[in-house]
Amino acid sequence: MPSAPTPATETGATDTPPGVDRAGKPKAPSRRFDPHRYGPLIGLGLLLVVGTLLNPDFATWDNWMNVLTRTAFIGIIAIGMGFVIISGGIDLSVGSMAALIAGVMILLMNALAGSLGSPVLVVVVGMLAAVALGGAFGLAHGFLITRGRIEPFIVTLGTLGIFRAVLTWLSDGGAITLDGDLADVYSPVYYGSLLGIQTPVWIFVLVAVAGAVLLNHTPFGRYVQAIGSNELVARYAAVDVDRVKLLTYALLGACVGIATVLYVPRLGSASPTTGLLWELEAIAAVIVGGTSFKGGEGRVAGTVIGAILLSVISNILNLTSIISVYLNAAVQGCVIIAVAFLQRRRP
């Protein structure tokens, strides 16, 4: 038998009846309908109904635009955070990073205002610098985590403190404020709108679509999932694990930069309270959206819904007075747990 054809057709011995091989082992079809995948969407749907019943103003275009525009910052960061969490990492520093980027960006723009002349150019330079700075911070995280072999939790807990402290120092504990002329030029980036939809919402949509394509339709996205699913398997399968991880942190940093670009024109200032607890909101949006905290599996659409859901809760609470303001956080907590319950996985 010098060269056998395919063994399966040759031997016949393995021709066991279908179903036997798989008997007793749990099957988890990946492309079939699974009601648990739609937990966040169901939760959001219920909230929309509740909100409309409680206050008719809830179901107005203006209110929805307000909510979506607000969600944009956390949502964009959460999309980046999704990549990091799916790859098995975590980044606790994003809120502080946003604050520091905002501060540095404003200082830079104020400084350039005199020398560059055109305020539009100054703002464009500031925006590019913000995204670049975010990417650089992310790369620094990635280097410490992959080359330095330090747990991501620790690295980013460290930078959480560093970023905010540096901002506080830069601002002397007060606020860093964008100069008037620049603020006017910059303001459309937050307040402007196209087809009745505010700019940050458009950017949010663009980032979400790009994120979904990157995660599900590129080798990079597949590697991210493979690493989070089992890093060793990925390493053995010739995946450049360190490089991919590094890029997830840089990607998140760039997302933080984009979010900051949209945030700064809103108030035109950065202060030590800027971005406070954004990291928790972003992580919550990712997890509520159905991404596994252990990594490996996740969906961008889920993250988007998770982020919107979180802002809708506080929007509804602000639009009503039926619950004591002291209990706001408790209501949010209950909704988060309820949604997590809807999308839990079977053991």
């Binding site: 209110n63 601002s171 504990g173 007060g174 108030l267 200032s269 202060s271 030590p272």
Partner: protein
């Protein structure tokens, strides 16, 4: 081996000599005239505490220059437990004899402060009173009641006892409650003033922006927003500007921050007409009063309330400190 031992011995000797020198120049002989003052304040996490830190450092700079035998050590803490630890270090390591403390929480710091006092440290408590007043020698505070009362009276008078008001609150604390109660107390006398709602915005610009956006969605007729803090007022103004609402006549902040006072002074925003002072400068006053009293060996009055006053275009220049960050 021998070399290491020599070095070690030499450094021990060195330390001994330094101690002797210290005792000779200051430690013993001039004990009564040397004051080691410890200052415990919250870290600069938002505008107001940023101002506290800046004013405390101003006081240190000026006072140490004026009194060579005064040594001021400033510690900033991120929370009550950290503050308690710093206090302990100040007493045991720095060996302070006087203390000015801005407590994070009244209850949590009462015991640690009482311990310090027991060791003979002179204690001045600032802003938040301790639960056991015997643990303090002096109490210096801004007037939180006036912080709520003054805007209420101002609004009631200006709008002739008839207005729709929405309010923002800070973080659920004693201070916030005192201000809120004083505000509502006055409004009770004016049945035509309606407080439509009050929600927490955590003394934070972003949260104030969001809460105001939702107020604007919910209430079609608003006359005055009581933002209860200048930082929050900033977020409120942005939200109103975005919604292009013209029904709102006035936004009242609080604390008299630099930018707000400047706005009043310049008349640059019609929505900002007045403010109430609650300057972080009181930490400066507290340090100065304590240090100077201690240098003389005198005591402070048991309670000293730094009055809050209404800031309007007429008196705004008295409240404008261009160098302060706040």
């Amino acid at each position: 081996m021998t070399k290491v031992a020599t070095v070690a011995r030499r450094s021990v000797l060195g330390a001994g000599a330094a101690l002797l020198a210290l005792a000779g120049t200051g430690g013993f002989a001039l004990a009564a005239e040397t004051v080691k003052l410890g200052v415990c304040i919250p870290a600069a996490t938002h505008g107001f505490t940023g101002g506290i830190v800046w004013w405390a450092n101003e006081a240190k700079k000026e006072l140490e220059k004026a009194h060579p035998n005064l040594k001021i050590t400033i510690k900033t803490a991120g929370g009550a437990p950290e503050q308690a630890n710093q206090l302990q270090d100040l007493v045991t390591v720095t060996k302070i004899d006087s203390l000015v403390i801005f407590p994070f929480e009244s209850a949590a710091l009462t015991q640690p402060v009482a311990q310090a006092k027991k060791k003979g440290v002179y204690v001045t408590v600032v802003d938040r009173g301790l639960t056991d007043t015997s643990a303090q020698d002096a109490y210096i505070a801004g007037d939180n009641t006036a912080f709520g009362r003054i805007p209420a009276e101002y609004i009631a008078k200006k709008y002739n006892g008839k207005a729709n008001i929405v309010a923002l609150r800070g973080i659920a604390t004693t201070i916030d409650n005192e201000r809120w109660n004083a505000f509502t107390e006055v409004m009770k006398k004016h049945p035509d003033i309606k407080i439509l709602d009050a929600k927490y915005a955590n003394w934070n610009r972003d949260d104030a922006f969001k809460v105001t956006q939702d107020y604007l969605t919910r209430f079609k007729e608003i006359d005055v927003v009581w933002a209860a803090d200048d930082d929050m007022a900033f977020g409120v103004l942005k939200a109103i500007e975005q919604a292009k609402r013209t029904d709102i006549k006035e936004v009242f902040g609080g604390a008299g921050s630099k930018t707000m006072v400047k706005t009043i002074l310049d008349g640059s925003n019609p929505l900002i007409q007045a403010d109430v002072s609650y300057s972080p400068k009181f930490i400066y006053d507290a340090i100065k009063m304590t240090a100077e009293a201690r240098l003389k060996g005198a005591a402070l009055p048991a309670t000293h309330i730094i009055p809050s006053s209404l800031i309007t275009k007429d008196n705004a220049k008295d409240f404008y400190f261009p160098d302060s960050p706040y």
